[in-house]
Amino acid sequence: MDRIPSRPTPLAWVGQFLLYGVFALVIGVFSRWPQYRHLEDNQALIKLSFTHAGKRVAECRQLSADELAKLPPNMRSTMKCERERAPVRVEVDIDGAPAVRHVAEPSGLSKDGASAVYQRLTVAAGEHRIAVRLKDSAGGSGFDYQREQTVKLAPAQILVIDFDAEKGGITLQ
């Protein structure tokens, strides 16, 4: 009974060298190859993204004396404002063709939070006519905000369509 000698033969040394070489090669190659093409050479990206709270579904109203009487004394506020907000409807046309038709529901269990939208649109680089319409109120059929602009997009350029009430509404940057 002898221990099997563990000294590798020259052939085993070569084999191990190759083994570690192949291991390193496979790790190295797939850590960079093949390249991943996210966009074609002549494409640009439009990102439609905003977080905007729609208007309240119902206007605030004055409570009647009877209604106030039914409330506990510490909760007798004369104005009653419903929390629920209107969903925000957004439409984007690119070169006259509809690209986005989306209704963003308000967040929160009581639907009193902001509506959020994020969509990526891949377009060919070059000049485009962008029309954006946004409605954040409950009543009526028209849109509350509109913007139409011609943009020239370089390959891989990102155009962000956002909403900022302080900047007048819909922005393209």
Binding site: L19, I27, T51, V160
Partner: protein
């Protein structure tokens, strides 16, 4: 290798895997075969990541403006030391997931996810998540075009969940959107997740005695040198500073770590969530699927247990604890088996000093024994089988159920005994076989690094070579014993070993036989 009633596809895959293992055994020997040390190699890569990561964190400027610049400057260090270190960090991460996934695949193929292994399996699955989250987060810290691509892709994926009031992607709409606070979050993810990983790894190996958190030295050196050479030969390069006004149209993607992004863009964020959720759910559910009944666990006989603690020391799964002996003698202990942890391997039987067939009792009773294959039955079987053989060159082959089939060697002058694990063999059994008339004994079990119960073959080898208690007595003629390790399907190796033993113990070359002496 018996895996119970495994599906045919898994059996086929297992056969292919074992063929690959045997091929690599021929190159590096089973002891240094990387396919047999995948978990330990994963640990090694983790240590490499931790050490290189600490240095990299020291030089990283954790601000939006400074992150890319600080990493780029690292690559301009004299002798390219910084770039070398950074490349090593990346390649160690790649190797880590490769070893981790291969380890998962191997354990599944061998059916090692149920019964007493359920705990290790269930604590291993979340590690996949921690590892990938940490690895992907590491790309963002560099804040080059690849980091930009990965961060936005991850944000788009997370936004598919209905949890966020404001889309995470809004953090990457414009240069001004990305602030230093967001970068602090990146750092927290890349460092916090590895801490969770360490914690998870600690749980993962909790039920293993002598868990292999370092591979054999030669293997560790080989893998480290391979990664260092790779880092020097193919250094990781920056892909240009992130620019949120320009989409990274083409990136040199690290497919080992970032394959989820192309997968999402090829399908959808929802589909990727479904795939990840289904995969993790399936992995978590595996141990609960219908499975063969668990074999009986080791049973302690207080009347024969002297509390020597050898089974406690040798159990690979920490299934034995020592408790006060019920006989009330001061300081006397008794082994106690935790049925939930017991692998039913019988290694404790091989370690028990009372498990010697020389004991004169008509029915051999040991301090600890396996109810499904008690030592007394094995002794009787060996005696009767030996008696049935003819000639002066009778050989007893003792192997295990998981290794090469010892029954394949049975024939003229050869009988065999298969144990649950080679580690179940008390060394005195070998001497007993020789005294009972065997000319030689061939001991076998799974190849080094391939023992189904981790340490069985190692313990038996050490016991037979007198390096571990209970030892084979020095007076036993070693030339009449052959020890060969061979996996299932490796029966030709056994035949070779048997022939070698036969030549040694031929009647002309052998002194007078030993006689059996009970006592």
């Amino acid at each position: 290798m018996a895996t119970g009633s495994a599906p045919p596809a898994r059996e086929t895959a297992l056969a292919l895997w074992q063929r690959g293992e045997r091929a690599l055994d021929a190159v590096s020997g089973s002891a240094l075969n990387p396919m047999r040390h995948l978990g330990a190699l994963g640990f090694q890569c983790f240590w490499l990541l931790a050490v290189s990561g600490v240095v990299l964190y020291g030089v990283l400027d954790t601000s939006v403006a400074g992150a890319y610049r600080s990493i780029a400057e690292l690559s301009r260090q004299p002798w390219y030391l910084g770039g070398w270190l950074r490349s090593l960090h990346r390649y160690a991460a790649d190797a880590f997931v490769v070893f981790m996934l291969a380890h998962l695949l191997r354990e599944w193929l061998f059916g090692r996810y149920r019964g007493f292994r359920r705990f290790s399996w269930l604590t291993g699955v979340p590690l996949l998540l921690f590892a990938f989250v940490s690895a992907i987060g590491g790309f963002w810290l560099n804040w080059d075009r690849l980091g930009q691509f990965s961060a936005i892709a991850t944000a788009e994926w997370l936004d598919a969940l209905p949890f966020f009031a404001s889309p995470l992607t809004r953090n990457f709409l414009a240069v001004a959107s990305v602030g230093d606070r967001l970068f602090s979050l990146f750092v927290f993810i890349h460092i916090g997740m590895p801490l969770l990983l360490v914690f998870g790894l600690w749980f993962h190996i909790q039920r293993l005695s002598r868990a292999a958190v370092f591979p054999p030295r030669a293997l560790a050196v080989g893998v480290t040198l391979a990664l260092l050479t790779l880092a020097l030969a193919l250094p990781v390069a920056n892909q240009g500073a992130a620019d949120l006004a320009i989409a990274p149209a083409t990136v040199a993607l690290d497919w080992w770590l970032l394959f989820v992004h192309p997968l999402m863009y090829a399908s959808s964020a929802g589909a990727l969530w479904l795939l990840v959720g289904a995969t993790l759910s399936l992995l978590f559910a595996l141990p609960w699927l219908p499975q063969p009944a668990a074999p009986a666990v080791a049973r302690v006989d207080p009347a024969n247990c002297n509390g020597c603690r050898r089974c406690f020391d040798d159990c690979p799964y920490a299934a034995i604890t020592m408790v006060p002996h019920p006989n009330g003698r001061i300081a006397r202990q008794l082994a106690q088996v935790n049925a939930d942890l017991c692998a039913s391997c019988g290694i404790c039987v091989g370690s028990c000093p009372s498990a010697t067939p020389f004991r004169s009792a008509a029915e051999l009773a040991t301090g600890i024994d396996m109810p499904q294959r008690p030592l007394n039955t094995l002794r009787l079987a060996m005696e009767s089988q030996l008696a049935a053989l003819q000639g002066d060159d009778r050989i007893v082959v003792i192997g295990c159920d998981r290794g090469a089939r010892v029954t394949a060697l049975e024939g003229a002058g050869v009988t065999s005994l298969s144990l649950i694990c080679a580690g179940m063999l008390p060394p005195s059994f070998v001497e007993y076989a020789l005294r009972a008339g065997a000319a030689g004994v061939l001991v076998t079990g799974c190849r080094e690094g391939g023992c189904e119960f981790r340490l069985g073959a190692l313990w038996t080898q050490q016991r037979l070579f007198g390096e571990r208690e209970p030892r084979l007595r020095a007076s036993v003629p070693r030339e009449r014993i052959e020890v060969t390790w061979a996996d299932a399907g490796d029966e030709p190796t056994l035949v070779e070993a048997l022939n070698a033993l036969r030549r040694r113990v031929a009647p002309v070359a052998r002194p007078a036989q030993m006689g059996v002496r009970h006592g």
